[in-house]
């Protein structure tokens, strides 16, 4: 039986100027003893849900839908009736802030207050229980006689926790309890919560933007975006394989999960308009289709206890390669299996890195995927094969490849304009005037000048870094959905390669195309990859989330690869 049930809850803040749809139709259930986490960035409506359950929303809020506690409707109770449930049944641990407690009242008094009111305790009895609670949450009872401003943030958070536990509630709401705390305190509070929950079997609703914290305590997670739940399911599943593009962005922006990767947030902001149509995430989504603009997706079960609200059924596959093989014929007549029965999948908007030592078949694989060479057997499907085999490189929104050596991939005798314009020219895209503008846009994207002077420069006059950017611009001019970058920084010096790589990842993050990044440099790869495929002798020996592959490789070859990084002199073990 569910302890708390929410049906199609909507909370709209009405102001003179407009209506803010803080919560826009969410439903969920929490069973007895269960811990549900709600995550989402600030402004997604998480706290409004918490306040809605407590009946604490401001007067200018239009509330519809129902909140049931033990099958009793509590969403439309008058203030005095609601007081029956508050604290004795449902208590909330607020986010610690200086003014969350009455500044002119001793904290002990503030903790005992509800006990005296709801449990009918005498002040002495309440005080002694308060001392017990303080010890439970790891505070010396001597702090009972201090004022809120005399306590540190962590201590205040403990007092707030003690306060919430004072009347032995059944259901505990935790609203951003750790977001203002340092790492040590955060961990202590987490351990405390886990221990308390084990001991007393609280049912909990944990609200936080801190996905690491929530996932370490909760069993189920609901991801909120712009007042709606976009994905829900068991914690582990959501963290390992997020299915909604927003969830993936959130997981990827979490430094605790992707320890090595550079931090890249989700580009764009939560839509603020009150009359928003369609999927709220669509302005930031990398895989939006026409329907996303017009209709709001509803939460649909996808199996495994997971639900997702996305017109495309979650993150869509972009490219699928099945059983690819390719052999080179050596001068002595022998065949060398460069690519041996490789299957892989690239999803919308993700960065897949293919790593391996020189000669492991990475570049051959890249060339097959880019349709530069034909595989002996196996097939490559791009966008479910809709684009038709073979032609996806010649089209806008197709696949583009950038090669390792810019000095051979761009002709010395081409001007910058000609080099970048070439694919448009060959594929007969746009008029001459359009093409010039497209070239300029592409050059701007890769941070190259767009002056006539620069456009008429010969590629031979450019530096290595500039030439690689021209090559990149030539790929970008076709606005690819998938970019294959084959060792694009290995011919460049450290600083230039860092610049090019950051530029590339920035472009990928902003434009939302998917990327296959091929490299032998594990350290660089870890900075940008979401997933890693490790290649050895033409086979993919291991594939997984970049942090998993890096932290716990299972294949012998991967272990060697991870172990082969040369440490600096001071890091020698």
């Amino acid at each position: 039986m569910s302890l708390l049930k929410i049906n199609d809850l909507k909370c709209h803040y009405l102001t003179d100027a407009d209506t803010v749809r803080a919560v826009d139709g969410i439903s969920f259930e929490i069973g007895e003893g269960e811990i549900l986490g709600i995550v989402g960035e600030s402004g997604s409506g998480k706290t409004t849900v918490a306040l809605g359950i407590m009946g604490l929303l401001p007067e200018n809020t239009a509330i519809s839908g129902e909140i049931l506690y033990r099958d009793e409707l509590i969403s439309s109770l008058p203030e005095s009736e609601m007081d029956r449930f508050r604290w004795k049944d449902i208590a909330i641990v607020f986010q610690n802030s200086l003014e969350v407690m009455n500044p002119v009242m001793k904290v002990g008094v503030q903790v005992t207050e509800p006990m005296i009111r709801h449990l009918g305790f005498s002040p002495e009895k309440a005080r002694s229980k308060c001392a017990d609670l303080f010890r439970t949450v790891g505070l010396d009872p001597k702090w009972m006689d201090s004022y809120p401003h005399q306590l540190s943030g962590g201590m205040r958070q403990r007092v707030l926790l003690a306060m919430a536990l004072s009347c032995d509630p059944k259901f505990l709401i935790l609203d951003e309890v750790t977001s203002a705390l340092d790492a040590f305190t955060r961990k202590e509070i987490r351990d405390l919560l886990v221990a308390l929950q084990k001991k007393n079997g609280y049912t909990m609703l944990m609200i936080s933007h801190d996905i690491t914290f929530v996932s370490s305590v909760a069993s189920r997670i609901a991801v909120m975006y712009s007042g709606r739940v976009v994905e829900t399911g068991p914690v582990r599943d959501i963290l390992v394989s997020p299915r909604h593009p927003y969830t993936r962005g959130l997981v990827h922006s979490t430094p605790d999960i992707f320890v090595y990767k550079d931090l890249w947030g989700i580009p764009g902001d939560v839509p603020a308009g009150d009359e928003f149509k369609g999927c709220p995430f669509s302005p930031r989504c990398t895989q939006k289709i026409d329907i996303c603009k017009d209709a709001t997706p509803v939460l649909m079960p996808i199996g495994g206890g997971r639900e997702i609200a996305c017109h495309r059924g979650g993150i869509a596959g972009l490219l699928e390669a099945r059983n690819l093989s390719f052999s080179y014929r050596l001068p002595d007549g022998e065949y060398l299996r460069a690519v041996d029965n490789v299957s892989l999948e690239v999803r919308e908007g993700e960065v897949l890195a293919v790593v391996g030592q020189t000669g492991s078949g990475k570049s051959t694989l890249a060339h097959i995927l880019a349709n530069v060479i034909k595989p002996e057997c196996g097939e490559v499907l791009f966008m479910d094969g809709n684009a038709g085999g073979g032609s996806y490189g010649n089209k806008v929104n197709g696949i583009q490849i950038v090669f390792q050596d810019p000095f051979s991939s761009t002709s010395n005798r081409f001007t910058v304009l000609d080099a970048v314009k070439e694919p448009l020219y060959i594929n007969k895209i746009g008029s001459n005037g359009d093409r010039l503008q497209m070239v300029k846009n592409a050059l701007e994207l890769v941070r190259l000048p767009t002056t006539d002077n620069f456009l008429s420069k010969y590629c031979g006059e450019l530096s290595g870094g500039q030439r690689q950017r021209v090559a990149l611009a030539r790929a970008m001019v076709m606005e690819p959905k998938l970019l294959i970058a084959d060792e694009i920084t290995s011919a460049l010096d450290v600083s230039t390669s860092a610049n090019v790589l950051r530029l590339l990842k920035g472009l990928q993050n902003r434009r939302g195309f998917a990327m296959i990044y091929i490299s032998h440099d594990l350290s660089l790869t870890l900075k940008i990859a979401d997933r890693i495929a490790v290649m050895n002798s033409g086979k993919i020996v291991e594939m997984g989330n970049s942090h998993d592959v890096m932290l716990s490789p299972y294949d012998e070859y991967t272990k060697r690869l991870v172990g082969s990084r040369i440490g600096l002199c001071c890091h020698n073990h």
Partner: protein, 327 residues
């Protein structure tokens, strides 16, 4: 701590010195002197027009013909010994004159402070609770319009209505002249009866300020997180409002009360004049008219010191009420 205390005392003393200097020089900058008064304040008062010879004699007698700095030094020296000088008009020590009239002023100022604060807080709370409703709007508009009436005009209106037409209250004085009381209760009643209208006038002049401050602070306070916390705890409306909201909202009201006493000490001059109430305000007025320098100085000093003391008290009380201050 020790250093803070010293600098505090130094600041207090220097403030006092500046006040003393102003008190001393300001009356002397007014045209005329105590012996050239030519107008009578009340009908029937004898006008004594002195000859030039007599005038010079008296100026010399009171030491007013000596250079100003010399007079100032003498004044300061006497002050050190607690001597405020002799009143020229009353022909008795200034301290005696003040002690004779000060209690009446204290009575109406304290009375007005208590009444205006309590009723202002109650009205402000009611208004804040019914925010944006009819009663709040009416109270707010009414009291703000009311505050625009100067206190002496208000006093005149009250005097006309209640004393002249309705004859409910006396026209002047602090006690019934030549009264023979049967016990202290009757005396107290008589005193209150006379003090009633002046107190009401002074209270009304301060009421709107307290009301607005309470109302607005309460409205701000009720949006604070700790009020939400108190609500979440299910403590009930009454506890939330009184224990949590009002307790915090009263802090600025306390500060204001300190200033208010200062403002009232000034305003009391006019109110006492309207009701012919024999406090120091009226005494000051007649002292100014008569250019009774020592008395002017004495009364201004008492007013200044009482304001300083009030502010000091408010600081102390505030420190007790708000644990965030002064630790």
């Amino acid at each position: 701590m020790e250093k803070d205390r010293n600098s505090f005392i130094f600041r207090l003393l220097s403030t006092l010195f500046v006040i003393l200097a102003i008190n001393f020089f300001l009356p002397r900058m007014m045209p005329g002197d105590p012996f050239s008064t030519t107008s009578a304040d009340e009908v029937g008062e004898e006008i004594i027009v002195m000859t030039e010879e007599q005038r010079l004699y008296y100026l010399n007698y009171y030491g007013l013909d000596r250079p100003l700095y010399e007079q100032f030094l003498v004044y300061m020296k006497n002050l050190m010994t607690g001597d405020l000088g002799r009143s020229i008009y009353y022909k008795m020590p200034v301290s005696d004159v003040i002690m004779l009239h000060l209690p009446w002023t204290v009575l109406i100022v304290v009375g007005a402070t208590v009444i205006s604060t309590i009723s202002g807080v109650i009205l402000g709370t009611l208004s804040a609770k019914n925010r944006k409703k009819g009663s709040d709007r009416i109270m707010m508009t009414g009291l703000i319009a009311f505050a625009e009436i100067p206190s002496f005009l208000l006093g005149l209106i009250l005097l006309l209505v209640f004393s002249v037409y309705l004859r409910l209250f006396p026209l002047a004085g602090a006690v019934t002249p030549f009264a023979d009381y049967n016990g202290p209760a009757e005396q107290a009643w008589d005193i209150l009866y006379h003090a009633f209208l002046p107190i009401v006038t002074l209270s009304l002049s301060q009421l709107t300020g307290v009301y607005l401050l309470t109302r607005n602070t309460l409205i701000t306070v009720t949006t604070k997180d700790y009020i939400r916390t108190a609500r979440a705890k299910g403590l009930g409306e009454k506890t939330v409002w009184i224990r949590h909201a009002l307790r915090n909202a009263l802090l600025p009201v306390v500060t204001r009360t300190g200033f208010m006493i200062g403002i009232m000490m000034g305003g009391v001059v006019l109110v006492e004049s309207v009701f012919s109430y024999p406090g120091i305000g009226m005494t000051l007025r007649s002292a100014v008219v008569g250019r009774d320098y020592p008395l002017i100085q004495g009364i201004l000093l008492v007013i200044a010191v009482s304001i300083l003391v009030c502010n000091l008290l408010v600081d102390k009380i505030y420190g007790k009420l708000d644990p965030r201050v002064g630790i």
